[in-house]
């Protein structure tokens, strides 16, 4: 029983991690070795792909920084809007709440690619192009419905008595959110934040159309440029190295917040 379970877990891990390991190996393999099997094992390895990326113009870490700024800004902006809104919605009457939930759900399911032309027009009209701060606006708008849905459920899970008791202790709305309610739904806020950050990190069509200056590109756009930089060859090595570098911050973020989520779950026991 136990042995077969660990076997299954191993298989599952290999299944899901293999593409990434492949990518990692590729990123350290010299371009020649990638297309030829005749090169001896000890001569296949190189750091050239990383060196090229980091010494490019602009250097690759610039894109990482751009994406981090956009992702962080989007996450903060979305949570600032979504947390109070979700609290308000969660305390509405059940009939109103379900109507709003369906509307928000529909918005969350809407294929946002259909919006990018209209958004481009807006960017031109209000001169929001080529600004990392401005691009967080459409991102926050697009991430808001999902964040709302997740956070409404989280607030609904808290007993109303807690909010009422805090009111009678003399806590105003902001104090209640800050000192009582938000600490109790930290796990939900953390996981929602990760999802928002991921969305901003991965977003392509809007970033492609809103940002054109070389030093302002976000990761997905920059990586697409690497992949399409030559019509005669596919730069597998450089592309793999870019993927690895682009995943590292996310990996760190998830590991960091995972601890918080687990801690939040174990002392969660919301019922007093």
């Amino acid at each position: 029983m136990n042995r077969s379970r660990s076997l299954w877990i191993t298989l599952l891990l290999v299944w899901s991690l293999l593409p990434m390991i492949w990518q990692l190996i590729t990123s350290f393999t010299s371009s020649d070795a990638l297309v030829s099997t005749g090169i001896p094992f000890e001569h296949r390895w190189t750091l050239a792909h990383y060196r090229d990326l980091l010494s490019g113009d602009p250097p690759f870490w610039r894109y990482l920084l751009n994406s981090t700024v956009v992702g962080g800004l989007t996450t903060v902006l979305t949570l600032l809007l979504a947390v109070p809104a979700a609290y308000g919605l969660a305390r509405m009457s059940p009939t109103r709440r379900s109507t709003i939930r369906i509307t928000v759900g529909a918005a969350a399911l809407f294929p946002y690619v259909l919006l990018f032309l209209a958004l481009l027009e807006l960017a031109r009209e209000f001169q929001l192009g080529n600004s990392l701060l401005a691009i967080a606006l459409p991102y926050a708008g697009l991430a808001l419905p999902l964040a709302l849905l997740l956070l409404i459920s989280a607030f609904e899970g808290l007993p109303n008595d807690l909010d009422d008791a805090a009111r009678l202790e003399g806590l105003g709305l902001l104090d209640r959110l800050r000192l009582v309610l938000m600490p109790l739904i930290t796990p939900a806020i953390a996981s929602t934040g990760i999802l928002i950050f991921l969305f901003a990190w991965n977003e392509y069509p809007i970033a492609l159309t809103w940002l054109s200056r070389d030093d302002l590109l976000t990761l997905p756009v920059a990586m697409a440029r690497i992949a399409g930089s030559s019509i005669y060859a596919v730069p597998y090595g450089a592309y793999a190295a870019a993927t690895v570098l682009g995943s590292l911050p996310l990996l760190a973020l998830v590991l960091l917040c995972q601890r918080q989520i687990v801690a939040g779950l174990t002392n969660g026991a919301v019922k007093g």
Partner: protein, 324 residues
């Protein structure tokens, strides 16, 4: 003094609470007694400011309360679920309200230590609520209400989540901590025994309206309506089915064996310790009789009662018919 006049609350078109008139004097404890869904908890939430009434007025110490937000009403409320903040230690639970009111740290510490002493949880100060027993949690909730130094206490079924033994232990605590203070206390419960034991006066609620307000003795000896007669007093009152134009009730403790009385057959026997409850079948219907523990009933026996112990009610309106 807390004064409710013509207080009413509805959800949609349905009135949860209507025409509630009640005065709770300084130092007095009034119990709101009724079955679940009778509107008693809604009344408390209106007074606390957690919900707004659709009609009527609330006055505390002569000043109207309506319009003042719940945060500023100075009300000590204890919830059935305790509503302790699960992420804070006992000390921080007690501290939160004081901190918000901007009290100096040294004063806060002093007052919290005093209250921890009163509720006898000095050693548990650094524990989280989920590490405490039900009785301890309830004491923290009481302590939090005490620290608020309120003008009125509202207790919403404070003991219904506790088992019978803990309830017996907590009752004197409640009396010592809260009921003996000068503040008016409104105590919501569905347990008539608890209401009788703790309250100076009891208001019986049914379907959002007051059936009767009176001392425990008045409710027991002179119930104004059939509902009150049935709700107050355990074991429950017997209803005789001998007459059609009045509903006659007689309490089990007012029946006594009498060879010349109404003929009955014993169909059940319940042992209560110091007394016993006999379940009887007679022409007047099923009767319960409370009698002393050493009484040995034969299968058939006679039962009688004195007419002044009978309670008469109008079968349609449910109002009391006895001359008072």
């Amino acid at each position: 003094m807390l004064k409710l006049s013509a207080l009413g609350k509805r959800f949609g078109t349905r009135w949860i609470l209507r025409d509630l008139n009640l005065e709770v004097q300084t130092g007095e404890c009034v119990a709101l007694l009724g079955p679940s869904g009778c509107g008693k908890s809604t009344a408390l939430r209106l007074i606390a400011g957690l919900e707004q009434p659709d009609e009527g007025n609330i006055e505390l110490e002569g000043r109207p309360l309506l319009g003042i937000p719940a945060e500023r009403r100075r009300i000590g409320m204890v919830f059935q679920s305790y509503a302790l903040f699960p992420h804070l230690s006992v000390r921080d639970n007690l501290d939160l309200g004081l901190r918000i009111r901007g009290m100096a740290p040294a004063d806060r510490r002093e007052r919290i230590d005093a209250v921890l002493n009163t509720i006898q949880l000095v050693n548990e100060a650094d524990r989280r609520p989920q590490q405490l027993s039900g009785g301890q949690r309830q004491r923290v909730a009481l302590g939090r209400a005490l620290l608020r130094n309120p003008s009125v206490y509202l207790l919403d079924e404070p003991m219904s989540n506790l088992d019978a033994q803990l309830r017996d232990e907590l009752r004197p605590e409640l009396r010592r901590l809260i009921l003996q203070g000068p503040q008016p206390v409104l105590y919501v419960t569905h347990d008539q025994q608890e209401a009788m034991a703790l309250a100076n006066r009891i208001a019986v609620l049914r379907n959002g309206r007051i059936e009767q307000i009176g001392t425990p003795q008045e409710l027991y000896f002179k119930p104004e309506t059939e509902f009150v007669a049935g709700f107050v007093g355990r074991p429950q009152i017997n209803w005789l089915n001998q007459t059609r134009d009045t509903r006659v009730g007689i309490r089990p403790e007012h029946l006594h064996p009498d060879d010349n009385g109404c003929r009955c057959r014993v169909i059940g026997r319940e042992w209560l310790g110091a007394s016993q409850l006999l379940l009887l079948e007679s022409n007047a219907g099923q009767l319960q009789m409370l009698c002393s523990a050493d009484y040995q009933p034969t299968e058939h026996l006679g039962v009688s009662w004195s007419p002044e112990d009978e309670h008469h009610f109008d079968p349609i309106s449910g109002q009391r018919l006895n001359p008072s």
